[in-house]
C-alpha cells in the first residue's frame, strides 16, 4: 500500500476507532450475529452506501465500455483533426471547456482530437482491473504468509517477518518504476494492454502483500491464544482444521476490510505509475497516462487535466467511503 503515490507509509487504517464510550451500546446489541450487525450498520451509513453505488456504477461502466462508446463516443484511437484548432496551429480543442459538446461529451485531447469520454471509460476498465486483481493478489499472499507466520511461529515467523520488514523498508515506488520499465511489454500473447495490466497487477500486488500480511499475522497471533482455539487444540483438532475452521472465519472480517481499503490505494498507485510513464502503453488509455499528457497542456487546456484527475479522485473517494463504512461496520474491535 505504501507504493501509494507519496502516501503515508503507514497504514492509518489499522488504527482502531472503537470508542470506549460506545461500549454500553456494544453490550446492548450483543447477541446478534456479526454479519447482521455489520449489515444493519452499513445500511444505515448513507455515505458508505453512496460510495458503494458509485463503485458499482463504475464497474458497470467499465464492463459496458464498448457498448457505451458505440452509443455515446468514438473509438479510442480515432483522430479528429476537425475538432482541433489548426488555423493558428495551437492544436487545441475547438470550443470552450476542452471541446465539450454533444459530439464529444468530455471534449477531445489536444493535438490528437481523440474522444476523452471514450478514453476515460476504457481507462476505467484498466484501472479497476488492476486495482481489484492486485488487491486480490496482495490479500492472497498476505493471508497465506501472515497465517503461516502467525500460526506456525518459530523460524517461519521470523523469516516471513523479516521479509515483510525488508519490503516495507524499501524505496518501493522507485523500485516499481525500475522494474516496470524493464519488464517485457508483451507475453502470453495477451497483447500490450493486458500484458501490462498483468505486470502492473503483479508489481502492485507484490508490494502490497506485507501490509495485509502484517495484519493477518497479528490477528492470528492473538487469535491463537484465544480460548476457542486453545479448546479445539486441546480436543486434538488438527492444525488444518484449526486454521480453516477456527482462524480463517475469524480473520475474514479484517481481511475483507483491508482488501477493500487497498483497492483505492492501488488505483492511486496504478495512476501514479501510468503518470510516470511506466503504466499502460499508449495508445491504450489510462487515467494516469492522460494526466501525464495533460502536463503539457494544463495551462491552456485545463479540462484535459481536470477530467482524468477528477475521475481518479471520485473513484478513489468512492472506494474509500465504502471501505471506511465497511470497516466501521465490521470493526472487529467493536464487537
Amino acid at each position: 500500500m505504501s507504493l501509494g503515490p507519496e502516501a503515508s507509509v503507514t497504514d492509518e487504517k489499522t488504527a482502531p476507532t472503537a470508542d470506549a464510550a460506545d461500549r454500553p451500546g456494544e453490550q446492548a446489541i450483543a447477541g446478534r450475529s456479526l454479519k447482521q450487525i455489520a449489515w444493519r450498520r452499513l445500511k444505515k451509513d448513507k455515505v458508505a452506501i453512496a460510495g458503494a453505488c458509485v463503485v458499482i456504477f463504475l464497474i458497470v461502466v467499465a464492463i459496458l465500455a464498448p457498448l457505451l462508446i458505440k452509443l455515446l463516443g468514438h473509438p479510442i484511437d480515432e483522430y479528429h483533426n476537425d475538432a482541433l484548432d489548426t488555423e493558428l496551429g495551437t492544436g487545441l480543442p475547438k470550443g470552450a471547456l476542452g471541446g465539450m459538446s454533444w459530439e464529444y461529451l468530455l471534449g477531445v485531447e489536444p493535438q490528437t482530437g481523440r474522444d476523452i469520454f471514450s478514453r476515460i471509460i476504457y481507462g476505467a476498465q484498466t484501472t479497476l482491473t488492476v486495482a481489484f486483481l492486485s488487491a486480490f493478489l496482495s490479500t492472497l499472499f498476505g493471508t497465506i504468509f501472515g497465517l503461516a507466520a502467525g500460526f506456525l511461529g518459530g523460524w517461519v515467523d521470523s523469516v516471513i517477518s523479516r521479509i515483510m520488514d525488508f519490503l516495507l523498508a524499501f524505496p518501493q515506488l522507485l523500485f516499481a518504476i525500475a522494474l516496470l520499465s524493464v519488464l517485457p511489454d508483451e507475453f502470453f500473447g495477451l497483447g500490450p494492454r493486458w500484458s501490462r495490466v498483468g505486470v502492473l497487477i503483479g508489481v502492485i500486488g507484490f508490494f502490497g502483500w506485507p501490509y495485509i500480511g502484517r495484519i493477518v499475522r497479528g490477528q492470528t497471533l492473538s487469535l491463537r491464544e484465544r480460548e476457542f482455539v486453545e479448546a479445539s487444540r486441546s480436543l486434538g483438532a488438527r492444525s488444518g482444521r484449526i486454521l480453516f475452521r477456527e482462524l480463517l472465519p475469524n480473520l475474514a472480517a479484517p481481511i475483507l476490510v483491508y482488501t477493500t481499503l487497498i483497492i483505492p490505494t492501488n488505483i492511486l498507485t496504478e495512476a501514479a505509475l501510468s503518470f510516470l510513464g511506466v503504466g499502460i502503453p499508449p495508445p491504450n488509455p489510462s487515467w494516469g497516462g492522460m494526466l501525464s499528457d495533460a502536463v503539457q497542456f494544463y495551462r491552456i487546456d485545463p479540462m484535459y487535466m481536470i477530467i482524468p484527475g477528477s475521475v481518479i479522485f471520485i473513484t478513489v473517494l468512492a472506494f474509500n467511503l465504502f471501505g471506511d463504512g465497511l470497516r466501521d461496520a465490521l470493526d472487529p474491535k467493536a464487537r
Binding site: A21, D22, P24, G25, Q27, A28, I29, A30, G31, R40, R41, K44
Partner: protein, 346 residues
Amino acid sequence: MSIGATNARPFLEIKDLAVRFETDDGIVQAVSGSTFSLEAGQTLGIVGESGSGKSVTSLAILGLHRTRSNAKVSGEIWLEDQELVTATDEDVRKLRGGKMAMIFQDPLSAMHPYFTVGSQIVEAYRVHHPGVNKKVARERAIDMLARVGIPQPERRFNDYGHQFSGGMRQRAMIAMALVNDPKLLIADEPTTALDVTVQAQILDLIRDLQEEFHSAVIMITHDLGVVAELADDVLVMYGGKVIEKGAALEVFQNPQHPYTWGLLGSMPRLDREVRERLNPVKGSPPSLINLPDGCAFHPRCPYAGRNGNRSFTEVPELRGDAHKVACHLPSEDRNKIFQEEVLPNL
C-alpha cells in the same frame, strides 16, 4: 432516609438517576430510575452482571460521563449539600479526586504507562492542593505508598506502573485515590483482576483505610462474596435498574428477587463441596436499547408467570421498607419459591 424528614441529608443520595447514551444503533438506557443513599463510614455494595449499570452509576456520580457528548444524565445526585447533576463541570471536577475518589478495576490500564507511579500520585495531590510544592507533595505520595503497604516507597516512587506486581499496582492506585482523604470512595471491581490471595489483602486494605479515613465506600462488584465481606448495604442491579436493595445481611439471608437468587447460586462457596457446575443465571443480559417491558428480568426469570399473571407491562416498584425489591411476584409466592426451590440448591 425518610423523605421529607427535617434531619440532614444522607451523605450521598441518589434520586431517580437515569443515564442514557445515544449511539448509532439507538438510545442505550444504561441506568434508569436508580435511587439509593449512603451514609458516611458505611459501605454500599452494588452487584450485578456486566452491563447492569453499576459502573455507569458510579461514573455518573463522579461526573465522568460529562466528557461524553452522547451521554444524558437525569435525576439528582446529592453529595452532602451539593447537587452534582446540575453542578458546573468545574465544581464537579474539584470534587473529583478530592472529596470523592475512585479505584478502578484494572490497575495496569488505569495507570498512565508513561508517567511514574509517584508522579501520578503527586499530580493527584497537587491538583487539589495547588499551593503545595513538589517536595511536600512527594513526601505525601511516598507516605501514601507506605500506608497502602508498598515496601520501599521511596524507590518505588520512581517506578512505572508496569514494573509493579498486580497487587502492588492496585495498592498504588488506592494510594492515588486516597491521597486527598476522600469522603467518598468508589471501588469499581477493585479485585477482579487480581489473584485470590491478593484480593483478600486489597479488600482488607480498603476496609482498614475506610476505618481510618471514615469514608463512605461504594463497592461495585459482581462477586457477592466481596459484598458479603465488606458491605453494610447491598444494591442489586439488572438491566440498568435497581431490583433489590437492603442491608447486606438481610439480602444475603433472605434474598427476594429471583435474579438475586441466581446470583447467589452462581457464587462459588468454600464452605460447600464443589458442585459439578455453578448455577449461572441462564440466558444473556438484556439489550439496553430494547429493554423488555416491565421487569427487565422476566425473559430469563424461571418463575415469571407463576402467579398466572403473564403481563409484565406494569413496572413493579421497589416495595417494602428496609429491604426492598422490584418483582411482579407477590412476596408470599417468592418466599415459598425461595424456601422450596432455591435454597436447597444453593
